[in-house]
């Protein structure tokens, strides 16, 4: 079931103004349709310009293979979220609340909110587009994950594996780089309770 969580604003780089946006818990047919008909063709077109997945980082398109529709329905422990503006899905996120635990020594073993997938629409990404449209979809979704986790008493503890193209995005937000995870073949990042509180205070 899709539920409105709140109204936010995304900065429209084209107009220099903030546009109203809405954050939803749960994805519906419109979100899946946006992904299949608007996101996926753009991702496929851009990724075809690169000869390898590593090189695709330059186009901010290493997530082109993510199957949002299949993935969102694959795990009972997933919660899905979308940010919409201008009648279109501008960002998507899947979090897992049951199958991951904290790794940082200060919170090792405790439950946490694990961000399985998070992405902004292709036309909002620097590197993908010379003239990206909205700024802030990723931050809005991250704030949503932290708030959702806090509501479930996970206290803002949040973890994720980052695509190489996104690694520089997470540390300035308060995530700690916990090193390379051989099992996932990606860097693992984690946020502490204190860092989550700081991030959310800055977002208000």
């Amino acid at each position: 079931m899709k539920t409105l969580l709140g109204e936010v604003a995304l900065f429209n780089r084209w107009t220099g103004r903030f546009d109203p946006a809405a954050v939803f818990q749960g994805l519906d047919g419109a979100n899946f349709r946006d992904f299949e008909t608007l996101w996926k063709p753009e991702l496929d077109r851009r990724v075809a310009e690169f000869s390898s997945w590593t090189e695709a980082a330059a186009g901010n398109v290493q997530d082109a293979h993510w199957d949002w529709v299949g993935k969102a329905k694959s795990e009972a422990s997933y919660e899905s979220f979308a940010v919409e503006s201008d009648g279109v899905t501008q960002g998507l996120m899947l979090i897992d609340l049951a199958l991951h635990h904290a790794r940082l020594p200060s919170q090792k073993g405790l439950d946490l909110c694990y961000i399985e997938l998070v992405a902004s629409a292709p036309w909002n990404r620097r590197g993908f587009s010379d003239n990206p449209k909205y700024k802030g979809a990723g931050r809005v979704l991250l704030a949503t994950a932290l708030s959702f986790g806090i509501d479930l008493e996970l206290k803002g503890r949040t973890g994720l594996h980052s695509l190489p193209e996104s690694e520089t995005w997470y540390e300035p937000l308060g995530f700690m780089n916990c090193g390379f995870d051989d099992e996932k073949n990606l860097q693992y990042f984690e946020m502490t309770e204190a860092a989550a509180a700081l991030f959310l205070a800055e977002e208000e």
């Binding site: 795990e75 009972a76 422990s77 609340l97 049951a98 405790l110 509501d151 479930l152 008493e153 206290k155």
Partner: protein, 69 residues
């Protein structure tokens, strides 16, 4: 988040376990039961799909299959 209330009847031993886990996980009893439900749901769905659920020792890589009744 929508919330509904229910009464849970537990034995002394089960209540002690709930208290202990709640303390160790740093959560209220309600949050702990919610997390336990999510985990149980996920494990149940995997087993129903024919998958096996293991715990693995990080150093020795020894695996033990979780038996879910």
């Amino acid at each position: 988040m929508d919330r509904r209330q229910m009464t849970l009847i537990l034995s002394d031993k089960e209540m002690e376990l709930l208290d202990d886990l709640s303390e160790r996980r740093g959560m209220s009893k309600t949050a702990l039961v919610r997390q336990a439900l999510r985990l149980y749901q996920s494990v149940t769905e995997r087993i129903e799909k024919g998958e096996k659920v293991f715990v693995e020792h990080p150093a020795t890589k020894d695996k033990a299959e979780l038996m879910v009744l």
